[in-house]
C-alpha cells in the first residue's frame, strides 16, 4: 500500500540534520518520519509517472495530487490524452475513480493497479504507514542505514510485508521491498534525487520495479510540491469529482 506513500513521503524529509541525535530512534519514530517525509499531512503535488513495459515501450502519465488531513487525497490526470479528465479520490478506507468516458465515479480497491503501472492505488492514495503497519528495527548490512521490517496491521494496507531502508543521517528512505503474505517479493523501490520543495525535502524520484515481471518498472517523479495549504473539505467529496 504504501510504496508510493513511501515515495511521496520519502522525499519530504531529507534534510533535517538535527535529527542525527544520539541513540537509535524507535521503529515507530522512523515510521512516523517516513510518513512526514513522503506524505505530509497536507500537500499539493504535481507528478509524472512513466511505466516501462515488458516490450521496452513506455506509457507516461502526468497528474496532480492534493492531500488533506491524514486520509484524504485526490488526483487529477492531465496526460496522456486518453486519461485526461480522470480523477481519483481517497477518503479513509474508501477510494473512487471518476471516468470521464462513463461520466461517473466507481469505487476502487486499494490493491488495484494505479493506471496499469507498477504502483498500486494504495501506493499513491494511501500513504499512512503508521496507521497501516507494525514496525521493528532489524540489523542492516550498511551501517549508514536503518532497516525497518513492516507487517500489515490492517486489511486495507497495500502490502502484507515491507522492508524499508532509511538513511541514519537524514532519515530519508532509500530503498524498499514489498512482499506478499507468502513471503514472495512483489515489488522493489528506489528513492532518489533528494530535493527541496519550498522547504520540504524529500526524494523526487521513485523507481518501482515489478519483481514478478522483471522488465517492467515504473518511475514517479515529483515536479512540484507545496505544503500547509488550506483546502476546503468539499474537494474531498464524491460529488465533487468531475468538476
Amino acid at each position: 500500500m504504501s510504496r508510493i506513500a513511501a515515495c511521496f513521503a520519502l522525499g519530504m524529509a531529507l534534510t533535517l540534520p538535527s535529527l542525527a541525535m544520539a541513540g537509535d530512534p524507535t521503529p515507530m519514530e522512523l515510521l512516523k518520519r517516513y510518513d512526514e517525509v513522503m506524505s505530509p499531512r497536507t500537500f499539493d503535488g504535481l507528478l509524472t509517472m512513466v511505466a516501462h513495459r515488458q516490450d521496452d515501450t513506455t506509457r507516461s502519465y502526468k497528474f496532480r495530487a492534493l492531500k488533506s488531513e491524514d486520509d484524504k487525497i485526490r488526483t487529477w490526470f492531465f496526460e496522456p490524452a486518453a486519461a485526461k479528465g480522470q480523477e481519483m479520490l481517497r477518503v479513509g478506507d474508501n477510494m473512487w475513480v471518476y471516468m470521464p468516458n462513463l461520466k461517473r465515479s466507481l469505487r476502487l480497491a486499494s490493491r488495484e493497479s494505479f493506471q496499469g503501472g507498477d504502483f498500486n492505488n494504495g501506493d499513491v492514495l494511501r500513504v499512512n504507514y503508521v496507521a497501516d503497519y507494525d514496525a521493528k528495527l532489524v540489523p542492516a548490512e550498511d551501517d549508514k542505514l536503518y532497516l525497518l521490517d513492516l507487517t500489515a496491521k490492517t486489511k486495507e494496507a497495500a502490502y502484507d510485508h515491507i522492508k524499508l531502508w532509511m538513511t541514519k543521517a537524514e532519515r530519508q528512505p532509500t530503498k524498499a521491498e514489498y512482499y506478499a503474505a507468502s513471503g514472495k517479493i512483489l515489488r522493489s523501490a528506489k528513492f532518489e534525487d533528494i530535493k527541496d520543495f519550498h522547504g520540504h525535502v524529500r526524494p523526487a524520484h521513485i523507481t518501482m520495479r515489478n519483481e514478478l515481471a522483471t522488465k517492467r518498472y515504473s518511475e514517479m517523479t515529483m515536479l512540484d510540491l507545496k505544503l500547509n495549504l488550506a483546502v476546503p473539505p468539499q474537494k474531498f467529496v464524491l460529488d465533487d469529482l468531475g468538476r
Binding site: D44, G45, L46, R53, Q54, D55, T57, R59, S60, R64, F78, P80, A81, A82, K84, G85, V91, G92, D93, N94, M99, P100, N101, L102, K103, R104, L106, R107, A109, S110, R111, E112, S113, G116, K155, E156, L223, D224, K226, P232, P233, Q234, K235, F236, V237, L238, D239, D240, R243
Partner: protein, 501 residues
C-alpha cells in the same frame, strides 16, 4: 469550404488550449485556472482546455430475416460510423466553468436483406434510412457555478448518474440508456437545472429536467411542452401536457458505504406516468478488501410498459390501436426494479463484474407469447416492426447511436463482464454476457483491444445472440422464440479505431 471551416475552428481551439500545455509547476496550473497563486493574487485569465477523440466504427452483421418477426428492411449488413468528438472546458473563474462535449457523427449503412414470400433471405434495395443520416450530438453542454464550497449550481445538458450499477442503472430515469456491452460509449445526458449541496459526509441534490420533445442537430426546439401548431410534415402535437421530472437525492457516506436515497416526481417524462412519484435507493461498499457489492432499486406504483391484448393476440380481428397498451399504468401495484451486483479485481489485474437485475413488471410467459403473436401478425400485415419498443419514451433523446440497447422484456437477467488487461502489455481481452434467465437466451459480446499508441486504441468486438434452450421459450406458428432470438442477426463484428487528442 467545410474543410477550411473545420480546420479554422480546430486551430482556434488548439490555440485556446495552448495555455494548458507544458505546465511544470502548480503555480502555472493555478494561474491558468484563475485561482489564487501562492502570492495571493487572483488571475483573471480565461482558460480553455480542449481534448477529445476521433472514432471510426465499421461493422458487419449477418442479417437473418427469418430468425425474428422484427423487420430487417432498415437494418444494414454494413455500417460505418465516424465520430469526431470535442470536449471543451472554459474556466471562467475559480468558481465557474462552461463545459461542452460534442460529437459530429457521419454514418451510413449498406447491404440490406429481407425475406421473400417463401421466407427466403433476399437482398432488399439500397435506400435512405432516417436514423443513419449524419447528425450532431451535444452530449453535454452546461455552465456550473460554485459561489460557496458547499453550494454548486448547474444548468445545461449533463449526464448525471447517481446509482452504482455498472452495466445498468434502474434508478436512472433521466439519461439516454447506455450500452451494457460498452458502458464507456454513451456520453449523452439530458437538459437539467441542478442545485447541489456537498458536505463532507453527505450531499443533497435537487434537479429539474424538462423533456426535450423535438430537436434538430442537437438543438431543442420543443422543450417541456409541444408547440400548439403541427410540424411542417403535418405531425400534430400529441398532447398539451408539461413533460418534466423533479428529482431529489440524499447521498451519505456511512460506515465506508455509499448510500443514496432518491425521490422522483414526473409528468410524462420519458414515459407515460402522469404526476407520479417514484422512490429509490442504492448501496455500494467494498467487503473483505477486494469485493465490491452494490444494490440499486427503484419502486414505482403502476407500470408504463405496454402489454399485449390477449384477445387481440389470439383473435383474427384486432385493432392495432389497442393491441399494445399500458394496462398496468394505474393498477395501484408496487413494481420494484432491483439490481444487485459485485465486482472484484484478481491478482492478474483481470476484473469480473456480476449483476443480477429483476424487474417485476416484465412480461410473464403468456404476455411474452402474446407479444410475439402480435409481432408476427404485424409483420404478416406489412406493418413495420423495426425499432419496436414496449417502453415508449416520447420526445427525442439525441443520443449517440449504440450497437446494443438493453431494453429488457422479461423479469430476470444476469449481466457478466470480464476484462483481462495486459495479455501482452497493451492487449486487453474481455467479454460481456447478458442473459435472460427466464429462457436462458442472451447475447455474448467478446472483445479484444490493442492500445497501439498512448493516443490510439484499436478494438474488435463480436456480438453473438444466444437463442436459448427449449425451456422457457414460447411457440408461435410452430416457431419457438426466446427474448434474444428476436434480434434478427446471427452475429456481428465491429472494428473500432479511436484516436485521442
Amino acid at each position: 469550404m467545410t474543410r477550411r471551416l473545420v480546420n479554422t475552428v480546430a486551430l482556434f481551439l488548439l490555440a485556446l488550449a495552448a495555455p494548458a500545455w507544458a505546465q511544470e509547476s502548480l503555480d502555472e496550473i493555478d494561474a491558468a485556472k484563475g485561482q489564487k497563486s501562492a502570492g495571493g493574487s487572483e488571475s483573471k485569465k480565461i482558460l480553455a482546455e480542449v481534448n477529445g477523440y476521433v472514432d471510426n466504427r465499421f461493422q458487419y452483421s449477418y442479417i437473418d430475416p427469418g430468425a425474428s418477426p422484427i423487420s430487417t428492411k432498415d437494418q444494414p449488413s454494413l455500417q460505418e460510423i465516424l465520430e469526431g468528438n470535442i470536449q471543451l472546458k472554459v474556466t471562467l473563474s475559480s468558481k465557474a466553468f462552461i463545459y461542452t462535449d460534442i460529437s459530429l457523427i457521419y454514418q451510413n449503412g449498406w447491404l440490406f436483406y429481407d425475406k421473400d414470400a417463401s421466407g427466403e433471405r433476399v437482398r432488399y434495395p439500397e435506400h435512405d434510412v432516417a436514423t443513419f443520416r449524419p447528425f450532431v450530438v451535444p452530449s453535454e453542454l452546461y455552465v456550473t457555478y460554485s459561489p460557496k464550497p458547499w453550494l454548486n449550481l448547474l444548468i445545461g445538458k449533463k449526464r448525471i448518474i447517481w446509482g452504482p450499477g455498472f452495466a445498468f442503472n434502474p434508478t436512472d430515469l433521466i439519461n439516454p440508456p447506455k450500452d451494457p456491452t460498452d458502458p464507456n460509449f454513451q456520453r449523452a445526458g439530458q437538459w437539467v437545472a441542478r442545485v447541489e449541496l456537498p458536505f463532507e459526509k453527505f450531499t443533497i441534490s435537487a434537479l429539474f429536467a424538462p423533456q426535450v420533445l423535438y430537436q434538430t442537430s442537437g438543438i431543442p426546439y420543443a422543450v417541456m411542452k409541444y408547440n400548439d401548431y403541427p410540424l411542417s410534415d403535418g405531425t400534430k402535437p400529441p398532447d398539451d401536457s408539461y413533460h418534466y421530472l423533479l428529482a431529489a437525492r440524499l447521498y451519505l457516506l456511512l460506515f465506508n458505504t455509499d448510500i443514496n436515497l432518491f425521490y422522483f416526481f414526473s409528468n410524462k417524462y420519458n414515459d407515460l406516468f402522469e404526476n407520479s412519484s417514484r422512490f429509490g435507493g442504492s448501496f455500494s461498499r467494498y467487503f473483505f478488501t477486494d469485493y465490491e457489492l452494490h444494490i440499486e432499486a427503484l419502486f414505482q406504483i403502476g407500470s408504463t410498459r405496454l402489454y399485449p391484448n390477449h384477445l387481440c393476440a389470439i383473435g383474427n380481428v384486432c385493432n392495432p390501436a389497442t393491441a399494445l397498451s399500458a394496462t398496468k399504468l394505474t393498477d395501484g401495484t408496487v413494481y420494484p426494479r432491483v439490481l444487485v451486483g459485485g465486482r472484484t479485481q484478481f491478482k492478474d489485474e483481470s476484473t469480473l463484474s456480476i449483476e443480477y437485475y429483476y424487474q417485476s413488471d416484465g412480461y410473464s410467459d403468456l404476455e411474452f407469447q402474446d407479444f410475439l403473436r402480435l409481432l408476427v401478425k404485424a409483420t404478416q400485415a406489412g406493418i413495420s416492426t423495426t425499432g419496436v419498443s414496449t417502453t415508449p419514451t416520447g420526445g427525442s433523446t439525441g443520443a449517440l447511436p449504440q450497437r446494443f440497447t438493453f431494453d429488457p422484456l422479461r423479469r430476470h437477467y444476469l449481466i457478466l463482464s470480464y476484462t483481462k488487461p495486459k495479455i501482452k502489455d497493451d492487449w486487453t481481452v474481455g467479454a460481456v454476457l447478458i442473459a435472460g434467465l427466464t429462457d436462458l437466451s442472451g447475447t455474448l459480446s467478446p472483445s479484444v483491444s490493442w492500445s497501439a499508441k498512448e493516443w490510439l486504441t484499436l478494438s474488435l468486438y463480436g456480438f453473438i445472440p444466444i437463442r436459448g434452450i427449449p425451456v422457457g421459450t414460447v411457440t408461435v406458428n410452430d416457431l419457438s422464440y426466446s427474448e434474444y432470438s428476436l434480434l434478427p442477426i446471427d452475429f456481428r463484428f465491429l472494428f473500432e479505431a479511436r484516436a485521442y487528442y
